[in-house]
Amino acid sequence: MSSSEAADSEGRPADIRAVPVRRPGRWLAGAIVLIIAVAIVHSVATNPRFEWHVVGSFLTDERILEGLRVTLELTVIAMAIGIALGVALAVMRLSPNPLVSGASWLYIWFFRGTPVLVQLLFWYNIAALYPKIALGIPFGPAIVNADANTLITPFTAAILGLGLNEGAYMAEIVRAGIISVDEGQSDAARSLGMTRLQTMRRIVLPQAMRVIIPPTGNETISMLKTSSLVSVIAVADLLYGAQIIYSVNFKTIQLLIVASVWYLACTSILYVGQHYLERHFGRGAGREEPLTLMQRVRLGLFTRHEEGT
């Protein structure tokens, strides 16, 4: 018996302390990554053409901040429309009425099957198709009449394009969530006398949230970036603000960096938010409490990976 196998006072054997296997490959890979990182940082920091002072001076330019506000507004409104529409479409899709579920299928097919940029341009030019927009009885008298060009401003067109497109994607996400809820739940709800709608609203949808939330977070992050497409229909969003400035001073790269910094900042905040939202809705479903972001970072930094891969 060697000393390393000595038992402690309770007769429990001591933890094994073996000489670890040497892993030169890991050191080599780490060194290569480090060298590349240093090279990139060095080049970015020393290349005078980046003109970081220009980036700094435009970071809080009024036009940039105004654009950022529009971008955030677009993201929130388009996502709200997308989620509401997605829930409606998903419930329709699961309807026993073939016309209703067919309509939902057709909608999703159309809006997922055409590029969102094309849809944005389409809404922007809707006045060419319908110069007058009237609200009233179908094929009957109109109650409200409006000129399409005044009703559909670039901002409205952007909201319509992004929101209606998002609805199609959200519909599929919500549908997946609804399907993930055990059928026994609706059996039980209906046996208690709840109607189909009550069952959906009170029992199924709340439980579908756990499956719906994570991809919805992804969609929101994606929407924040996709909204930059609206600059082509002259909506003064973050990217458009940058474009306006560089069309005058020709500091194209610097202003694109400014826009990127803001996009990155916003997506990072959303990323953290999504992480905590997932943690919240995953509660009770997993085996053990998932770690918070900070706990994960701390663990990653301060523990050595001792076990083998």
């Binding site: 059996d187 039980a188 209906r190 046996s191 006398g193 709840m194 189909r196 009170r202 439980q207 009770g284």
Partner: protein, 254 residues
């Protein structure tokens, strides 16, 4: 004799081309406890689901408390009932499932209180007060705030019984209520059911618990392959089955 609580005449049910019920005839008197026995796939559960219209029957007549299930008869034609009417009738029939089917996002108390609030429009406080009483009655006084995932199978099933009772049903359907439970937890659930039977509830119980059937049932029905093979008082059917098929089944489960 008074109107039977459940009356089935030649009830047929098909799933696609597969015939699950091939003509079920039976009657349950008010206040009676009927146990349905039979091998799996014999149509017991399907029949139970037909009684509260979770499944539509294809042929025959099925009525609860003198009213057709799912239809209105004007003497000439059958009219399908609206969803709201079906829901209203279901509300008076409690159902307990093999896998409990408690609502996972609600506490035990909310599980019991929710249907009276949503369906009957009962005031929140009153519904919760009654839910507390019901949970106490099934022996879960200390579990009001627990979520289903924090309860044992036996506790979950007793919450499910309380949930069904919260709607003040006139008929209770039990679909293999103890089949998914660890043996040591079966007793508590059966105890709650016995208590219910003693209070005069009309019950139809699909079960493999022969002891329960013997002790509590007024009538035992043996089903096989979508048909009622034989029916009778438990002492008779369980001790002296007349049919070979019943004998073979009982010799395997007893």
């Amino acid at each position: 004799m008074s109107t039977p609580m459940v009356k089935a005449e030649a009830v047929h049910k098909r799933f696609g081309r597969h015939e699950v019920l091939k003509g079920i005839d039976l009657e349950v008197a008010p206040g009676a406890v009927l146990c349905l026995l039979g091998p799996s796939g014999s149509g017991k559960s399907t029949f139970l689901r037909c009684i509260n219209h979770l499944e539509k029957i294809n042929a025959g007549r099925l009525s609860v408390d003198g009213e057709l299930v799912g239809y209105r008869d004007d003497g000439e034609k059958l009219h399908e009932l609206r969803e709201a009417e079906v829901a209203r009738k279901r509300a008076r029939i409690g159902m307990v499932f093999q896998h409990f089917n408690l609502f996972g996002h609600m506490t035990a108390l909310a599980n019991v209180a929710c249907a009276p609030i949503y369906v009957k429009g009962l005031a929140r406080d009153e519904a919760r007060a009654r839910a507390r009483e019901l949970l106490d009655r099934v022996g879960l006084a200390d579990k009001h705030t627990s979520y289903p995932s924090q309860l044992s199978g036996g506790q979950q099933q007793r919450v499910a019984i309380a949930r069904a009772l919260a709607m003040q049903p006139k008929l209770m359907l039990f679909d293999e209520p103890t089949s998914a439970l660890d043996p040591e937890l079966v007793g508590d659930v059966l105890e709650a059911m016995k208590q219910l039977a003693a209070e005069g509830m009309t019950m139809i119980v699909v079960t493999h618990e022969m002891g329960f059937a013997r002790e509590v049932a007024d009538e035992v029905v043996f089903m096989d392959d979508g048909l009622v093979v034989e029916a009778g008082p438990p002492a008779e059917l369980l001790e002296r089955p007349r049919h070979e098929r019943t004998r073979a089944f009982l010799s395997k489960v007893l």
